[in-house]
């Protein structure tokens, strides 16, 4: 960690330090020239995704790599152990009450970090993801609404092409209703004319019947007038004779 602070300090002090690119990870940021005029905020420079690798949470990996060529793998550990023992034995680090409280505090901190570290990191990642998801959702909703508008517009345009069907149907309807009205009126005219003709015919029939009845009654009246009294007596006597003959004939048959 300290090495990186040194690197960035070196880059700020000597911006023309081109061989800063050779000094390990973080080179992308340390090779940038700082404090030259207006800083541009877009495009936003990328953040490194993970921090530098450390051992024991304190000592960066680069230190171990630095000592590796000369002392191998165990070199830094020997150095650390030796330093600690030196400080303790020479009483540069004095064993006081504070040591125990520091053991308690730091032990508690390490325990807490080891136990709850991953879940807290996951929580932080989830917070970021939720933020991104909300923005993404807004973007998608906007895209979708515009797409829906486009589709609706296309559908409307297609419908406009088919409008002539509607007009044909309307035209047919109107023609049909005109035809129906015409026929209806024609029929009415026919009925009215027939009515009047029927009236004339029935008037004629009534007149003819009246004439017939009048003639018949006149004929009967004149025939009845023409029958004299003598003719009437003769006719009645003949009828009585006929009836007597019939009576005699009738008696001859047996009664059933």
């Amino acid at each position: 960690m300290l090495s990186r602070v040194v690197l960035s300090a070196a880059a700020t002090e000597a911006p023309a330090l081109k061989n800063a690119a050779l000094l390990g990870p973080g080179a992308l940021q340390t090779a940038r020239i700082f404090h030259t005029g207006q800083p541009s905020l877009a495009p936003v420079p990328p953040l490194p995704e993970y921090g530098g690798k450390v051992r024991f949470g304190l000592i960066p990996e680069e230190f171990f790599q630095f000592l590796y060529p000369k002392t191998g793998v165990t070199g830094p550990y020997m150095l650390g152990t030796g330093l600690i023992l030196y400080f303790l034995s020479k009483e540069i680090y004095v064993v006081t009450a504070e040591m125990f409280s520091s053991i308690a505090t730091i032990g508690l901190l390490i325990y807490g970090i080891k136990k709850y570290g991953p879940s807290v990191a996951e929580f932080a990642d989830k917070l970021n993801e939720d933020k991104l998801a909300k923005l993404e959702e807004a973007k998608q909703a906007s895209i979708k609404s515009i797409q829906d508008a486009i589709d609706m517009e296309k559908a409307q345009q297609a419908l406009v092409q088919k409008r002539h069907y509607l007009f044909d149907v309307q035209r047919n309807n109107i023609a049909m209703s005109l035809e129906v009205t015409y026929r209806e009126r024609l029929h009415r005219v026919y009925r009215e004319v027939k009515n009047r003709l029927d009236y004339h015919i029935s008037v004629q029939n009534v007149a003819r019947r009246k004439e017939q009845e009048h003639m018949i009654s006149w004929v009967e009246k004149s025939v009845v007038q023409s029958i004299s009294a003598q003719q009437e007596r003769e006719t009645i006597a003949k009828c009585i004779q006929d009836l007597q003959l019939l009576a005699k004939k009738a008696q001859a048959q047996p009664v059933m």
Partner: protein
């Protein structure tokens, strides 16, 4: 023994120069800022926590009271971080010094009270007389309420100082007990060490709680007076 016990509370100097100002300003370095929408984990967590505390604390205030949000948030973050950093070994905690706590408490309390007296004189003065007191008790009660008003900043400062100082002293003493018992009987030292662990857990809680209480009380005084 006495000298060792209280040396951790003396004003820190480096080669004769007081570096107390740097120590007070140091916690601010631990809170990164960024212009980005999505940042790294520590910044996300910091944002989330500050939002949570802000909403929780400023919900009860009117818009006039909410103009104090920045002040109160800075206050709670300062006190919480100095308290927590003080738990690390060989560190100096500014909030153990009465001077610093008075410097925090008196201006904030005075600001709240003066605001109240300036803009809502009748309401502020009416706080001196609770409702429904018998007439005979009124003079005494007003005196008592005045005293309780003026004791508020003192109480704020002394409460914080006493709590943190007592916690540190206790940890120091039990640590010393463990150290002394180590050479006499290891098992007793172990028990004492367990007590020390429990105490450390308590101290972490106290550190956070004291910050909260301080800020809450200031906000309460503010609420009364806006």
């Amino acid at each position: 023994m006495n000298e060792n016990l209280f040396t951790s509370f003396s004003t820190p100097t480096l080669m004769g120069l007081p570096i107390i100002i740097m120590i007070i300003a140091f916690p601010a370095l631990l809170y990164p800022t960024s212009n980005r929408l999505i940042s790294n984990r520590i910044r996300t967590l910091q944002q989330y926590l500050i939002n949570l505390i802000l909403k929780q604390m400023m919900a009860i205030h009117s818009p006039k009271g909410r103009t104090w949000s920045l002040m109160l948030m800075s206050l709670i973050i300062f006190i919480a971080s100095t308290n927590l950093l003080g738990l690390l070994p060989h560190t100096f905690t500014p909030t153990t010094q009465l001077s610093i706590n008075l410097g925090l408490a008196i201006p904030l309390w005075a600001g709240a009270v003066i605001l109240g007296f300036r803009y809502k004189f009748k309401t502020s003065v009416s706080h001196f007389l609770p409702q429904g007191t018998p007439i005979l008790l009124i003079p005494m009660l007003i005196i008592i309420e005045t005293i309780s008003l003026f004791i508020q900043p003192m109480a704020l400062a002394v409460r914080l100082t006493a709590n943190i100082t007592a916690g540190h002293l206790l940890m120091h003493l039990i640590g010393a007990a463990t150290l002394a018992l180590f050479s006499i009987s290891t098992s007793t030292a172990l028990i004492t060490f367990i007590i020390l662990l429990l105490l450390t857990i308590l101290e972490f809680a106290v550190a956070l709680i004291q910050a909260y209480v301080f800020t809450l009380l200031v906000s309460l005084y503010l609420h009364d007076n806006t």
